[in-house]
């Protein structure tokens, strides 16, 4: 079966992530899994299903909903949650705006991306969640490269990068005081290519927008943004038809598409393996603000 008792890299990563998930289920009272309908959270949900099989996933999933989603992704989310019989908690940025907790940004670059943090922290407090699974990977961004698998947050939801708990072997310190929580990243050691390879190996379904399709887009700062009601478009930003796919799936206001003809998983993997640009660099306006954009948002409690 296993000559030399070797494991493939996907088997090692899968075992590591399942170990992390079981550790959380065993040691925390109110965990929740952040599910956006994106490929990383799809892998996370599949791993949770495998970690506790044949029992149901022993925690709910939560979507922080900016209201600016791709409809295909919301449809996918609802179907997947129903299949697994897990409880879905929706934390709405629109509700935070209506309640006066945050003020909507205005102007051409307005996005609800940053507002999500307040909605997320409010939901954590309301539901008293003590552990939140996130799909972030260390290969995505250099502030993330320094983050622990079990990442401690104080009672204000803040990350202190200079004072992180040392993390040795597979031993995770899960102890908390009231009001504090831990963000848990089971996919820390996965790369974008690992995610795609696992999606293919396990025949996992993903939203259709990850594959090449015709779409009306316009170009801004080198990103191809979808024509959508939430982004005011300038006169110098004409719409055109393009064959595109999404490499990441986030808020419509800041997630760009890439030109692509890859219509199957195998074709996407070929493209990902050959690409010379990082996925966040190619598709996310939110990381382009400054060298430390991600670190600053993470300190405040962003994922």
């Amino acid at each position: 079966m296993h000559p030399d008792y070797q494991m493939s890299q996907l088997d090692v990563l899968e075992s590591e992530a399942i170990h992390v998930m079981r550790e959380v289920a065993a040691e925390f009272e109110r965990p929740v899994l952040l599910f956006s309908g994106g490929k990383d959270s799809i892998v996370m949900l599949a791993l949770a299903e495998r970690a506790f099989w044949p029992a149901r996933i022993p925690f709910p999933v939560m979507h922080v909903d900016t209201g600016h989603n791709f409809p295909e992704v919301i449809e996918f989310r609802d179907r997947r949650v129903a299949e697994l019989g897990v409880r879905l908690v929706v934390a709405s940025v629109q509700a935070s705006i209506d309640a006066g907790r945050v003020v909507e940004e205005t102007g051409r670059h307005a996005s609800r991306n940053r507002l999500q943090t307040v909605t997320l922290l409010d939901a954590i407090e309301e539901h008293r969640f003590d552990a939140l699974f996130g799909g972030a990977r260390r290969d995505e961004e250099k502030a993330r490269a320094k983050e622990r698998v079990f990442s401690f947050r104080d009672e204000f939801g803040q990350w202190d990068p200079k004072n992180q708990r040392p993390e040795l072997w597979n031993l995770y310190n899960t102890r908390l005081h009231r009001g504090e929580h831990i963000r848990v990243f089971p996919l820390s050691n996965w790369t974008e290519l690992d995610i795609w390879s696992y999606l293919e190996r396990e025949s996992l379904e993903i939203p259709v927008i990850y594959f090449a399709h015709q779409r009306q887009v316009f170009e801004r700062d080198g990103l191809l943004l979808a024509d959508n009601p939430y982004v005011p478009r300038g006169e110098d930003e004409p719409l055109f038809d393009a064959l595109v796919r999404y490499r990441t799936v986030g808020d419509m206001t800041c997630t760009g598409a890439v030109s692509s003809t890859a219509a199957t998983m195998a074709e996407v993997i070929t493209e990902v393996a050959a690409t010379r640009i990082t996925e966040r660099g190619q598709t996310r306006a939110d990381d382009r603000t400054s060298e430390a954009a991600m670190e600053d948002r993470k300190r405040e409690g962003y994922f």
């Binding site: 970690a51 040392p166 040795l168 072997w169 310190n173 102890r175 640009i277 190619q282 060298e291």
Partner: protein, 420 residues
């Protein structure tokens, strides 16, 4: 394709960041936008070369101070292997970070500047890697270009290091002369050192044999979580009791006789499931679920092993400790929380035998306490037994973390030398 995890220790001065940058760059693992960002920042800072250290220093404070503070993990792959680099700072005040990075490493790369030869720092890095039982070590003698690729310089450093390594328990040791700046012997063999007939660094990393580093002899299965579906509607699941966990040692197969600790009760394995499917065998580090033939009362923190090969059930342990707290010291009578495999117990330090000077290996038996980044040998008394092995025998059942009962901070790491 398997995974090799390796740790690099050193400072910018040793060329560590340049070496990592070179590995990533020459294996085409740096993306165009990352390189562009580094070039832009280097220019903005008035540096006349592309500072590859900026690729690895991810935190604002690190870029401001020009130093690596914390462990950063980087990823690259070649057609043969996926690599996870634990990139750790080299200075003595970051010993705990290096210990952290080394804890999961299959291999450690110790960097030496060819002009300076062995320094206190390189000796410390080698010592910490062996303390954490990293099975393979590479001494990369860097900046060979600055000593005219002189074979005598290389051989002198190798001889000196071998003499030092003989005092440690270094498993497998390989020497590679490199110039990270020019790429000599990093990815491809160098034409500048025809006298060297060994592999390039990457060639070695791609081929070093790690499968047998794991303990495949002593069956150790710390029970992590009990799976009980509670599905009243599905009769088949009604009696399902699965014991989930990550194999810490040995090979388990259906039909094997196993023993449960603490009860001492024996039974046999009915089936093994991994990620929802039945598998014919399980070994480290697989996460699996065991189904047993007899009803035994088993819970998290228990251990499954073989009847004639058991771990120690120890309430007193001797261990090497690396202290990681700047807020408090370790001394006799210090109270702690200990996490070992899936079991968490309270502990008290009953004795501090000595503190070790990480630069000279000198043992100071008059030491009364351990401070931040200090290493020493202690005796711990636990409130409940743990099922453990010497760390040298099994890293997974021999390592434990120390937690502050009040602040919940992780304040130390311990490697068991003797149990019982």
């Amino acid at each position: 394709m398997d995974i090799l995890r390796f740790a690099t220790a050193g400072s910018v001065d040793d060329g560590k960041s340049t070496l990592i940058g070179r590995l990533l760059y020459d294996s085409k693992s740096i993306f165009a936008d990352q390189l562009e960002a580094v070039e832009r920042t280097s220019r903005d800072r008035g540096e006349d070369y592309t500072n590859l250290a900026l690729l690895t220093d991810g935190l604002r404070a690190e870029r401001e101070q020009g130093i690596t503070i914390d462990v950063a993990y980087r990823y690259f792959a070649t057609p043969r292997r996926k690599f996870i680099i634990a990139d750790t700072p080299g200075h003595i005040q970051y010993t705990r970070n290096m210990v952290t990075g080394a804890s999961t490493a299959d291999l450690a790369v110790v960097l030496v500047d060819a002009r300076n030869g062995l320094t206190e720092q390189s000796r410390r890095h080698a010592f910490l890697a062996t303390l954490l039982r990293v099975p393979h070590m590479v001494l990369a003698v860097n900046k060979m270009d600055l000593v005219d690729y002189d074979v005598e310089v290389f051989e002198r450093i190798c001889a000196e290091f071998s003499a030092f390594a003989a005092r440690l328990q270094v498993g497998d040791l390989t020497f590679v002369p490199v110039s990270a700046l020019h790429g000599d012997n990093v990815v491809a063999r160098s034409a500048n050192m025809p006298w060297y007939d060994g592999p390039s660094l990457l060639h070695h990393l791609e081929r070093v044999h790690i499968a047998s580093d794991r303990n495949l002899i002593d069956v150790r299965f710390p029970v992590q979580y009990v799976i009980r579906p509670h599905a009243a509607t599905d009769a088949a699941l009604h009696d399902y009791r699965g014991y989930a966990g990550q194999v810490a040692g040995g090979v388990l197969r259906p039909g094997d006789e196993v023993l449960h600790l603490p009860s001492g009760f024996s039974t046999t394995i009915r089936a093994i499931e991994a990620a929802g499917t039945a598998v014919p065998e399980a070994f480290a580090p697989m996460s699996v679920t065991l189904l047993l033939n007899d009803d035994v009362d088993i819970s998290r923190g228990d251990m499954i092993c073989r009847p004639n090969n058991r771990p120690a059930a120890a309430q007193d342990i001797e261990a090497m400790v690396c202290w990681m707290s700047s807020e408090r010291v370790l001394a006799p009578r210090t109270r702690l929380v200990v996490k070992h495999t899936t079991r968490t117990v309270k502990a008290i330090v009953t004795d501090l035998h000595y503190r070790i000077d990480v630069n000279t290996l000198h043992r100071d038996e008059s030491a009364a306490q351990l401070g931040l980044n200090e290493i020493g040998r202690v005796r711990l008394r636990l409130t409940q037994p743990i099922f453990c092995d010497p760390y040298a025998r099994n890293r997974a059942t021999g390592g434990l973390i120390l937690i502050d009962e009040t602040t919940n901070a992780t304040i130390g790491a311990a490697m068991i030398t003797e149990a019982g």
